[in-house]
């Protein structure tokens, strides 16, 4: 169970809305301390490009993030991005995640995150041991405290 604060959820929606402006997709990543595997306490917004139907993270940014996280003993636990319409895990979402390890979570928020700040309408996928994405119930894997 990934534990996030309401503040993390609110900051995530705020970043997705401010950057996407209701017309472009956007992505943020949830970060937590290495020694607390279920904990998320930070939202990071990457350098990226985006259109109404996709986004691409600056590849150099991910390397810079790795080094910064290593200095602070922290790690990426989940990615959160918007779709213009329905929330689902597309083929592109499947094949181009930032992290490729078991248990990594990918959250898709519909309608450019214009709806309520909650996990109610989201689609959640979890990466399994074979590198496949499995749809999961957000209420079973994410607790907002």
């Amino acid at each position: 169970m990934l534990k996030i604060t309401q503040e993390v959820l609110e900051k995530s929606f705020a970043a997705l809305r401010t950057c996407g402006l209701g017309r472009s997709e956007c992505v943020v990543f949830w970060i937590g301390p290495l020694e607390r595997p279920e904990h998320v306490d930070q939202v990071v917004h990457p350098r990226h490009t985006a259109t109404s139907v996709g986004y691409d993270v600056d590849p150099m940014w991910s390397g810079e993030l790795w080094l910064d996280l290593a200095e602070r003993a922290r790690t990426v636990r989940a990615q959160v991005h918007t779709h213009p319409g329905a929330a689902f895990h597309s083929a592109r979402d499947d094949s181009l995640p930032l992290i490729h390890t078991e248990g990594y979570l990918s959250l898709v928020i519909p309608r450019f995150a214009s709806g309520p700040v909650s996990l109610g309408d989201v689609h959640l996928a979890e990466r399994n041991s074979e590198g496949k994405w499995v749809a999961r119930d957000p209420r079973e894997l994410i607790e907002v405290t």
């Binding site: 590849p59 290593a70 990426v76 181009l96 078991e102």
Partner: protein
């Protein structure tokens, strides 16, 4: 008296993935792919990620080619970055 050649020196490199630095031993003639595969196994990278996640030089820009040898491209004791070539998503 033994005629065996001395064992090649063991060198070390640090590889960082998702905030986790890990030291790996290698010998100079070892291929970069072999070290990359060790790192992929250590960090638990599975599926199509194994092809997409590559080793980059400390400049975070230069991708290290699988078929090159460590001694040709890597300074012992340096820190390499294991990261995806590209990352993204979207509706299409």
């Amino acid at each position: 008296m033994s005629s065996q050649a001395p064992a090649p020196p063991k060198l070390q490199v640090t590889i960082v993935y998702n905030g986790v630095p890990q030291s790996f031993d290698y010998v100079p003639q070892q291929s970069i792919n072999s070290v990359r595969q060790q790192a992929l196994n250590f960090f638990g990278i599975t599926g199509d990620g194994r092809e997409q996640v590559r080793l980059f030089a400390p400049d975070n820009q230069t991708e290290l080619p699988d078929d090159a040898s460590m001694e040709d491209r890597v300074e012992p004791g340096s820190t390499l970055i294991l990261r995806p070539r590209t990352s993204g998503g979207g509706t299409r």
